[in-house]
């Protein structure tokens, strides 16, 4: 009498698991996909190795002059020689510690905002938004603190890019809140239409015409004897432009607050300002942080446009350096460096915004 003995389980076919299985599932699942995969592989092959060779393997890294670039690859010497200018513009080298202090303290001040346990976030945030810009201006310009005066025409490079974007965003925030509230004030048709016209006007025109306007027309608007320098004029244009986009983002947040919250505030007998300030805005602002970060990213990218009205932010400094007769023909290196800088800033900000979005999305 023989008993049935169960043999050991056969392993799954080699073609279904492991590396081969993964390849079959993800790259060669059909004739069409196999063809596309091969095409894509070819594309990667003709693009990636030459770029890596050019940028890293064949590149010249050290030196002080054009003659040090002997290889076929990128000449990063161009960037390293001019690195100081790309960061600080024409800010005198002996005074650059001021710029460093400003960005250093800003970084230190911002750190607690990302810590969960820190209790005075609102106060610190308010300080950074409303007080710090003035301290920073005083230190950069120097006149208020009795330091050597550095006119705004000498500011430049990446530090100017961040000043333009940061000030533009911070100054646009309060204006944006007011505009968004005004656009939702249905019981005040005149105020509402003024806000709608303002918002739609700035959203409808390109930033470059706004900058043209602020550099050409603004001086005409001012009374005699009052003059703003170029940076101030650009900042005014950017702020007005940005406030319209900010208002639309905040309006989205206001609309997302359930009606019950408004009604509950009414039922408690709160007036308009208390209702808005204590109930609606705190909830709305929290929702719109990702949106604000996204407009901030767009603004950082847009600040490059100020080079058209003659301010030398990072891209402007690069263009300036490319015109140096000693360094003609290194456009690709300059642009690659700028692109990488902008990419790091914008990409990390967009990841940050996505992280907040996920954190806020608690899945109701």
């Amino acid at each position: 009498m023989s008993t049935f003995e169960r043999g050991p389980d056969l392993p799954p076919p080699v073609t279904q698991v492991g590396v081969i299985g993964w390849l079959r599932r993800n790259l060669f699942s059909s004739w069409l996909y196999s063809f596309l995969t091969l095409l894509a592989l070819y594309l990667v092959w003709i693009v990636v190795p030459p770029v890596i060779n050019w940028a890293l393997l064949d590149a010249s890294w050290s030196g002080t002059a054009r003659e040090d670039c002997t290889s076929d690859g990128a000449c990063w010497v161009f960037v390293s020689v001019r690195f100081n200018q790309f960061m600080y513009g024409f800010y005198p080298e002996a005074q650059q510690w001021r710029v460093n202090i400003i960005y250093g303290t800003l970084f230190l001040l911002m750190t607690p905002l990302f810590l969960k346990a820190f209790p005075w976030k609102t106060a610190l945030g308010g300080f950074i938004i409303f007080v710090y810009p003035f301290i920073a201006y005083g230190l950069l310009d120097g006149a208020w603190f009795g330091l050597e005066v550095v006119e705004t025409t000498r500011w430049g490079g990446l530090s100017l890019t961040l000043i333009l974007a940061g000030v533009g965003c911070v100054a646009a925030l309060p204006l944006g809140i007011i505009l968004a509230l005004g656009r939702r004030a249905t019981d005040m048709p005149a105020a509402k239409s003024l806000c709608v016209i303002f918002i739609e006007f700035w959203r409808g025109v390109p930033l470059i015409t706004v900058l043209f306007m602020s550099s050409v027309m603004l001086p005409l608007f001012l009374p005699e004897g009052v003059q703003f320098d170029k940076l101030m004029r650009a900042l005014i244009g950017i702020t007005l432009f940005q406030s319209a986009y900010m208002a639309e983002v905040i309006r989205g947040g206001l609309q997302a607050i359930p009606k019950g919250q408004y009604e509950a505030a009414d039922a408690l007998g709160l007036g308009y300002w208390k209702k808005t300030g204590l109930i609606v805005l705190p909830q709305a602002m929290k929702i719109v942080i990702p949106g604000i970060v996204n407009t901030f990213i767009a603004l950082i990218k847009d600040t490059t446009l100020v080079l058209i009205i003659g301010l030398f932010e990072l891209l402007g400094m690069i263009q300036n350096a490319l015109n140096d007769p000693n360094w003609l023909g290194y456009a690709t290196e300059g642009y690659a460096f700028t692109a990488l800088t902008f990419w790091i800033i914008c990409f990390s900000l967009s990841r940050y915004s996505m992280r907040i979005e996920r954190k806020l999305h608690t899945g109701h």
């Binding site: 790259l27 996909y33 596309l36 995969t37 390109p206 470059i208 027309m217 642009y335 692109a339 902008f342």
Partner: protein
């Protein structure tokens, strides 16, 4: 009884300074007062300043002779035309680059958006890398890159990249054959128009028949046959009234054919690559917004891949895609103004640039330029509102 005072139990009116309606009125009156005063103050300053600096006002300058040339014009233009004409030259150039940019960005964006969702791992990765790289780099930088680093470093005309001796790419631009129509080409165009009308009629008829009887009709194939066949027959009947003028190398540059300025080429490329990333994300979001249940329901009904996409997925995805897509198109129009930075003669470069510098009425010129862009934006948002109202999900 009767001497009891007649007490009203409804609450009395609040004091006027507490009445929300009166408060709103007063506040708005104040607001308008402030805005108007501020506006008058600015206008007053402007008039005063212009008088002081001797800047001419009014639109009279539009009739003066411009006296400068423009490198590309879609309408007849030379130095003897007026400043008013430069406005239209610039406007048409803006429209040209915007249309080219929109078409190429849409193609690139849809392909990349679909590719990012592909089940093919490599394709999806490539699409992701493309999107994440190019949307985080400023557009102006990309334009500069394509123009200064790539466009101007292309080989000289003698060594240009050639595609079958018909299309040439070099540092003077892109050269393609120019179609030259002869007598009788109107017949072909007429046939094409007839074909379009026929297709519309057939599509409506097929739709109505399918609604009534359930019988499908091969609208797509019939339409294609009509659209290609009718003009094709007319073309043959008229004796092939079309020749191509080939670009030819003469001396240091190409003559003949259609030439595309390197500025236009770089600008279109940068706009397409940059906007393509945003369109790709829009398309991805649209496709992902169609819930998986829809796909499963379509499979359960026995639909194959193509009709499932055509009848179930795409119509629902388009509802989500189209509103952000139009705002991207609007961005292309606005971003085309960056042309001024590389010297492509668009509205901003020609009119708000050269014309402004030569004549001086800043307020008028900037206002006209802004009005153009505002008209685009407002008309597109009106169109969008109409579309949204039409396409809104009709729930029961």
């Amino acid at each position: 009884m009767s001497d009891l005072p007649n007490v009203s139990h409804t609450p009395g009116k609040p004091a006027p300074w507490n009445d929300p309606k009166i408060r709103a009125l007063v506040f708005q009156a104040l607001l308008i007062g402030v805005v108007v005063t501020f506006g008058l103050y600015l206008i007053n300053n402007t008039l005063h300043n212009m008088e002081q600096r001797g800047i001419s006002t009014g639109f009279g300058f539009l009739d003066n002779t411009a006296g400068f040339g423009v490198t590309q014009s879609l309408i007849e233009y030379d130095e003897t035309y007026t400043y008013g004409r430069t406005f239209f030259v610039g406007l048409l150039n803006t429209l040209l680059v915007a249309v080219l940019g929109i078409i190429s960005a849409t193609l690139l964006g849809f392909v990349m958006g679909v590719a990012r969702l592909s089940r093919n791992w490599l394709i999806a990765r490539i699409a992701t890398v493309y999107i994440e790289i190019f949307r985080n780099i400023p557009l102006l930088l990309q334009i500069f890159f394509w123009y200064f680093a790539v466009g101007l470093n292309l080989p000289r005309p003698k060594q240009s990249f050639a595609l079958g001796e018909t299309i040439f790419l070099n540092n003077r631009g892109l050269f393609i054959p120019r179609p030259i129509t002869e007598d009788g080409f109107g017949l072909v165009i007429g046939a094409f128009v007839v074909a379009i009308i026929a297709v519309i009629v057939i599509a409506r008829w097929a739709h109505r028949r399918q609604d009534a009887t359930g019988q499908p009709f091969h609208t797509v194939w019939v339409s294609l046959a009509l659209l290609v066949g009718l003009p094709g027959l007319a073309f043959l009947a008229a004796g092939a009234p079309l020749t191509w003028e080939m670009p030819e190398l003469r001396g240091f540059n190409f003559r003949g054919g259609l030439s595309v300025l390197p500025e236009l080429f770089s600008l279109t490329l940068a706009l397409a690559v940059y906007t393509g990333t945003f369109i790709a994300e829009t398309v991805r979001a649209g496709i992902q917004s169609v819930s998986h249940g829809q796909t499963e329901a379509a499979r359960a009904l026995g639909l194959r891949e193509a009709p499932m996409l055509q009848l179930i997925i795409i119509p629902q995805a388009m509802r989500v895609i189209i509103p952000p897509l139009t705002s991207q198109y609007l961005n292309v129009v606005k971003n085309s103004s960056l042309a001024a930075a590389i010297g492509y003669p668009d509205l901003v470069a020609v009119f708000a640039g050269t014309t402004l510098n030569q004549t001086g009425p800043a307020v008028e010129i900037i206002a006209m330029t802004m009005a153009v862009y505002l008209t685009f934006s407002l008309s597109i948002s009106l169109l969008m509102n109409w579309y949204n109202a039409k396409m809104m999900l009709r729930e029961r």
